[in-house]
Structures are given as structure tokens and as C-alpha cells.
């Protein structure tokens, strides 16, 4: 099977002259959970945004051999994107926020209602249909944001440090729920994070990046079996993996 998406010799220089990313070669297999791990400002978000088609690479190319139809430029109906901030419309209810992508796509009302329902249940927000974002906690807002990304039934979920602003307990809970959803629905996840612990817990592959200009300097497979849960979090295996990945990150920063 061909990889889902490939980046070949991708670099990005911003108009200001900053070289954010250089020489990125990467193939992501369908169904994998890949983390981009690196210090802040290393260009991991830039890579994610290029994969999403939100910004163009300055050189190199991004292909989607794994998608049946070539995605039209700009619009990627098979992608879901989750930002670090929940990025909700403060004037709209939870249900209307989640419905937004379906309204844009012109999905019929009845079908849209059913899908919004499904997405709200997936993230465990039953009973908050009519709440407004400001009435929700940070973790709940992030759940709404994830539900909005899921409502289009994407094949690829791109997440840009989605849990970085949350407290640790909420983050653990959302990590578990995200893993459960991923195992159930088998989409591909590309997850940007600066947390070694989070990347080891979630992913089956970690790409360690150097400081700016960002390059992928190590490609680490995390073989620990799923399902992973709180027992995994306190296991020796998890501790050892975290130590290894931390060392890699140190090497990457020194390089």
C-alpha cells in the first residue's frame, strides 16, 4: 500500500526571510499515529500547516498517494485540523460550532443533525448541545474543537499542540479519549507536541526535530502495544521509552 502522504525535500522560508523548515523528507502511513516532537519555534506547526495546505512550501512537494482522489488545492475535505486554542465561534452554541464544517459543505439539515449528534457523543459532551463556549471549561472547549474536526469524518486528523494549554489531569483524560477514538476509527493522526511524555504515550512513531531551521533528525518507532492506559503510564516500559526519546531530543538540540 502506498503511504498516505509524502513530503519530499520540503522547505519553508517566510517572506520575512526566516527559514522555518529545511529538507524535510517524510512518508506517513495510513492509520499511524505520528508525533512531531521538537522545541518551540522549530517549525513543527509549519510542517503541519503545509500538510493541511494552509501554507505552501517554498520548495519541495507534498503528495497524497494514499488518497483516492487528488485533493483540490486549498480545500481538504478528508482532513480535520485542531489548533492549540479551541478556536470556537463564541457566538454559537456547541452544536452550531460543531455543525460549521457541514454548513460550509452544504450537508442537508437532517444528515447534519445526525452527524453532529454522533460527534458530540464521541467526545462525551452529551447534554451540552446548547451551551456556549464561554460556559465550558478549557478541556470541554477542546473536546468541542475535536468534535468539530471529527464531524466531517476525516481520514487524517492534524493536531497542533491541542492539549498544551490544559492542566495535566485534563490532558491525561483527553489523551486516553483520543487514543480510544483513534483505535475505534483508525484515522491517521499527525500530532505536534513539545512534550516527550505525551508523544511517547500516544504515538507509534515519533519524529524528533532540531531547533530552527527545523529538520527531522530522528525517526523513532514506539512499539508498545495498544490499548495503552493509565497502567502503561506508570510502567517501566513507558519510563524507559521516555528516557530514550528525551536523549534523542537532547541530541537533536545539540546538533
Amino acid at each position: 500500500m502506498p503511504p498516505l502522504v509524502t513530503l519530499s525535500g520540503v522547505a519553508k522560508r517566510f517572506p520575512s526571510g526566516t527559514l522555518a523548515v529545511e529538507r524535510v523528507d517524510l512518508a506517513i502511513e495510513a492509520g499511524s499515529f505520528v508525533s512531531l516532537l521538537g522545541p518551540s519555534g522549530c517549525g513543527k506547526s509549519t510542517i503541519l500547516r503545509m500538510i493541511a495546505g494552509l501554507i505552501e512550501p517554498s520548495s519541495g512537494r507534498i503528495d497524497w498517494p494514499g488518497l483516492t482522489e487528488a485533493a483540490p488545492t486549498g480545500a481538504h475535505p478528508e482532513l480535520g485540523f485542531v489548533f492549540q486554542e479551541p478556536t470556537l465561534m463564541p457566538w454559537a452554541s456547541v452544536a452550531d460550532n460543531i455543525r460549521l464544517p457541514l454548513r460550509v459543505a452544504g450537508v442537508a439539515r437532517a444528515e447534519a443533525d445526525a452527524r453532529v449528534d454522533e460527534a458530540i457523543r464521541m467526545v462525551g459532551l452529551e447534554g451540552f448541545f446548547r451551551s456556549f463556549p464561554r460556559e465550558l471549561s478549557g478541556g470541554m472547549k477542546m473536546r468541542v474543537s475535536i468534535a468539530r474536526a471529527l464531524v466531517t469524518r476525516p481520514r487524517v486528523l492534524l493536531m497542533d499542540e491541542p492539549f498544551a494549554a490544559l492542566d495535566e489531569i485534563t490532558r491525561f483524560r483527553l489523551n486516553n479519549d483520543l487514543l480510544a477514538l483513534w483505535q475505534q476509527l483508525r484515522w491517521t493522526v499527525v500530532f505536534v507536541t513539545h512534550s516527550v511524555f505525551e508523544s511517547v504515550y500516544l504515538s507509534n512513531r515519533i519524529l524528533v526535530m532540531s531547533a530552527r531551521p527545523g529538520r527531522i533528525v530522528e525517526d523513532i518507532a514506539i512499539g508498545a502495544p495498544y490499548p495503552r492506559d493509565d497502567r502503561f503510564r506508570v510502567s517501566d516500559e513507558y519510563g524507559n521509552l521516555c528516557r530514550d526519546v528525551s536523549r534523542s531530543l537532547h541530541r537533536a538540540l545539540a546538533a
Binding site: 494552509l54 478556536t87 465561534m89 460549521l100 460550509v104
Partner: protein, 272 residues
């Protein structure tokens, strides 16, 4: 989060303060005014007391009421045109940067030129007096709506705009789903300012046109009464004008609260 917020007074307390305190001040001032007029025996043609003004208002209601209606009509119509025009122009500005850059300076010029200086010209050129008044009131009223709405339309969350692009949204969808609702608080802020300005514009234009003698709005009543030294009627008309302004302000504040209370920080009452 709630720890660092100062404890607000209870709701009943603040409501009592909000309505009771200004009301008390008003009553005290009116009583002092009436007392001063009576104690010093100031004649009514120099400074009438509040009671004599109230009496005049009742007696002359048959002429003040049509004037009030007249002024209100001009104000409301000018505001309506200002809303439609200001909003559409703001949408046009937001849709293309070059349109905004080429037209905005002229909107500013229109705004900074005092209406008293333009009004005589407009009255000369426009035959129909009502339309002339309308144009004057519109000129002062439309700028706050235009400028506020333009800022509002341009301050949409960039990540939300990116998201819309990811979903392949069309321009009108981005405008309708994201930019316009986000601009609502800005628009309503502009509307509150414009409401008062439309009234001022209408009154100023009436004063300028007053010499022509064909107007019959409240400003015309003030002019007319001043020629005849009917000071109480001048005050009565003045009170009606302020009352109208207050009413306009209060109704837009209410509208603001009604539309924004669920989501915008400006309209949300903190819980104690």
C-alpha cells in the same frame, strides 16, 4: 479564576444604585431649581422653574407633539439609511483592501467636516427640506457604523479563517458564518453612537434651515419660541430633545444586551 475577581455587589444592590442614584440626583436638582426660582422671584421670561416648564409642555403639547414626531421621523430614517449604508460599505471595504484604501479617507473627510458648515449648502441644493435634513443627519450618523463595522469584520480569529479555508469555504460563507457575527458587538457599539448623532444631525440641520421657516421639528420650535421670548417653551422643547436622545440610547443598550448576553464579554454579568 474566580479568586482574583473582586466580589461584586448583589444584583439588587447594583440595580438600585443604577436607577435610584441618578433619579435621586435628578429630583434634588429639580427641587433646588424650583426653590431657587421661587425664593429669588426670578421672572419666568428669564428662568422658568421646572413646574412652569411642565405646565407649558402640557399646554403646548398640541404643537410640540407634531414637532417631536417630525424630528423623530428624520432621525429614524437617517439612522436606517446610515445602518444600511454603513454596513454595506463596511462589507465592501472588508471584501477588498483597495476599495477600503481608496474610499476610507473620503468617509473620514465627511466625518471631520462640521455638519453646521455643510448643512447650508445641502439646504441650498436640495429642494425638498425633509430630504435635506435627512442627508445632514445621515452624514453624521453613518461614520461610527462604517468605521466600527469595518474593524469588526477585519478582526475575525485568524485560525477560524484558516479552518474555513481548509473546509473550502467560499468568500460569502466566510463573511456570513465568521466575519459578520464577529462584527456584531462592534456594529452595535457604532449603532449606539450613531443613534445619538442622528438626532444631533437632524436638530442641527433644522436650526440651519430654521430661517427658511418651513420646518416644523423641535429645533424649529426652539427658534420660534426664542424669537417670541417664550422661554418656558424653549425649555420644554429642549427637554423633549434630551428625552428622545436618552430613549434612543437606552433602547440600543437594551438591544445590545439582548443580542450579546449569551456570549460577549461586554454584556455578560459576572456571577458573585
Amino acid at each position: 479564576m474566580s479568586d482574583d475577581v473582586p466580589r461584586p455587589r448583589s444584583r439588587r444592590d447594583s440595580l438600585w444604585l443604577k436607577i435610584g442614584a441618578p433619579l435621586a440626583i435628578g429630583i434634588v436638582v429639580l427641587i433646588a431649581w424650583e426653590a431657587m426660582v421661587r425664593v429669588n422671584e426670578i421672572p419666568w421670561y428669564i428662568l422658568p422653574g421646572p413646574l412652569s416648564i411642565a405646565e407649558t409642555m402640557v399646554r403646548d403639547w398640541h404643537m410640540l407633539w407634531p414637532s417631536l414626531v417630525n424630528t423623530l421621523q428624520v432621525t429614524a430614517l437617517a439612522l436606517l439609511v446610515a445602518v444600511v449604508g454603513g454596513f454595506s460599505l463596511a462589507v465592501l471595504f472588508a471584501s477588498a483592501r483597495w476599495i477600503e484604501l481608496s474610499l476610507f479617507p473620503y468617509a473620514v473627510i465627511l466625518q471631520v467636516t462640521p455638519i453646521v458648515a455643510i448643512a447650508p449648502l445641502i439646504i441650498v441644493y436640495v429642494d425638498n427640506l425633509t430630504i435635506a435634513l435627512l442627508i445632514c443627519a445621515w452624514i453624521v450618523a453613518f461614520f461610527p457604523i462604517l468605521s466600527n463595522t469595518t474593524i469588526g469584520l477585519n478582526s475575525a480569529d485568524h485560525n477560524l479563517l484558516d479552518l474555513m479555508r481548509l473546509y473550502g469555504a467560499r468568500r460569502w460563507q466566510i463573511l456570513w458564518f465568521i466575519r459578520v457575527p464577529g462584527a456584531l458587538p462592534f456594529f452595535l457599539g457604532g449603532l449606539r453612537i450613531s443613534g445619538g448623532l442622528a438626532l444631533i444631525g437632524a436638530i442641527v440641520a433644522e436650526f440651519v434651515a430654521g430661517g427658511a421657516g418651513s420646518g416644523s421639528g423641535l429645533a424649529f420650535r426652539i427658534l420660534e419660541a426664542s424669537y417670541r421670548l417664550e422661554i418656558p417653551r424653549m425649555y420644554a422643547a429642549l427637554f423633549l430633545i434630551s428625552g428622545t436622545g436618552i430613549l434612543i440610547f437606552l433602547s440600543f443598550t437594551g438591544l445590545n444586551h439582548l443580542l450579546l448576553r449569551r456570549w460577549h464579554e461586554s454584556a455578560i454579568r459576572r456571577e458573585g
